[in-house]
Symmetry: C2
Subunit: 242 residues, 2 copies
DNA sequence: CGAATAGTGTCTTTCAGACATTATGCC
DNA sequence: GGCATAATGTCTGAAAGACACTATTCG
């Protein structure tokens, strides 16, 4: 049994955290990617990858702390929507050895991001890429394509029945703007009337006064009642509320 | 940057896998727990814990392999429903150092389990415990209470709109038996008519001939069309199918 | 025949989808 | 007034919840 061996004798896998950071820019869902460094011994040199890296047992009190640190480092955003996605681990995903990564996914408004023009030391650059138009002919490093795919599926699935897209907008926002976020993520139009009814009934919005938004008629502005958590819309198999 | 340090110099967290194994026995949802060993340096000696342990980089090709190995070891079951639950990691969850665990949850029919009467070497015993009546006054080891809680929430939530409870039954089973599984997990009665309609419409069942089941009238037996995956019932915000 | 369980039918309410209509502000 | 967008109203069909009813087997 593993437990009966001395702790120090146990061979420990490499432990990393990767973050799938989504935003919407120019009407498209985009993901933040960084380029792998070129140094000796570096795996996948020059390839695009999800931002992430080793857990630093001195800096990070927890996995989520680690994810937040990497997110802050790359985007300057300190409190986006952040959710654990899952973990991927095995002997062959990293040429340097048995490794396990803890993947998170984050949503943030494009306007809140301050990308560093260039990461001085390593020359690595972070860039937004439309999820439907990743750099062609250049597969992502490690198993990051699979992780990104899972993140996309999770996002699209949850958008069907949660308030997640609200975290893609700066506050305050209007209902038509929010509807657009849903449409962009889902990749299909959403009926206005039904959308409004459901969004308002879900009770995650608070009015914050009318907004000028560049269109003829001003619209009501809204804020999230609780930026800390997403709201789930009612599901099936549940007893009717009222 | 962590990446610029030599790989060998990076302090690696302990890496474990834990499995929350559910079954239904005696009309109750139960979870399999093991007792922590008593040896020197062992954390939480004697406490109940989720089955799990260190990843063995020699034995395990992947995290899921590791979970399956532990599951087979404890229950003798080789292909239950198995799903990743999430990961928990931090500096203080294990007194032996910074550690990260990858948690899985499994569903299996009670009848398929062969618990070893006792694990010879360590004297550890595995036992079923009703989730509503864990050993009183004895908190679970590590953060396993939190992991179990998360597993329960995930299970109860998914039961609302998936075929998960079917994995708690040996095949073939009848619709009334399946309905009972839903009711046990959800903790409330479910309407027979509606249940039958939805379950059959979801299309994850295949008829397999009538069964004697100890009740006056025989019932139709069913098997799962695909034991490899759960089926999701239709959700909201989606275009009508027909 | 009665008891017990399996399985079906019916009614009603809710609600999402589709689409039409009204409201408001700017040119 | 005309236009563009915001917001609301109306109709319909699908489906879930509730509950009544029929069917089959055993004693």
């Amino acid at each position: 049994m593993t437990e009966s061996r001395a702790i120090s004798a146990i061979e420990r896998p490499l432990t990393t955290v990767d973050v799938v950071i989504f935003t919407v820019r120019g009407g498209q869902l985009q993901v933040l990617l960084v380029q792998r460094p070129d140094g000796p011994g570096e795996p996948f040199p020059g390839a695009w990858a999800l931002p992430g890296g080793f857990v630093d047992v001195r800096l990070d009190d927890s996995l989520e702390d680690c994810a937040r640190r990497k997110l802050l480092d790359k985007t300057g955003v300190s409190s986006p929507y952040l959710e654990q996605l899952g973990s991927w681990g095995g002997k062959s995903r990293d040429p340097r050895g048995w490794s396990a990564t803890h993947a998170y996914f984050a949503l943030l408004p494009f306007e809140s991001v301050q990308l560093k023009p260039e990461d001085g030391k390593t020359g690595k650059t972070a860039q937004w890429h439309p999820v439907n138009a990743l750099p062609p002919g250049q597969p992502l490093a490690f198993d990051h394509a699979e992780i990104l795919q899972t993140a996309l599926e999770r996002l699209r699935s949850k958008v069907e029945y949660t308030s997640l897209p609200a975290f893609l907008l700066p506050e305050p926002f209007t209902l038509p703007q929010l509807q657009k976020m849903y449409e962009i993520v889902l990749g299909r139009p959403v009926d206005k009337s039904g959308f409004r009814t459901r969004a308002l009934a879900a009770g995650f919005l608070v009015e914050s006064g009318a907004m000028e938004v560049g269109s003829p008629r001003p619209a009501m502005g809204y804020r999230l009642k609780d930026r800390g958590a997403a709201v789930y819309f009612p599901r099936t198999f549940s007893p009717r509320s009222s």
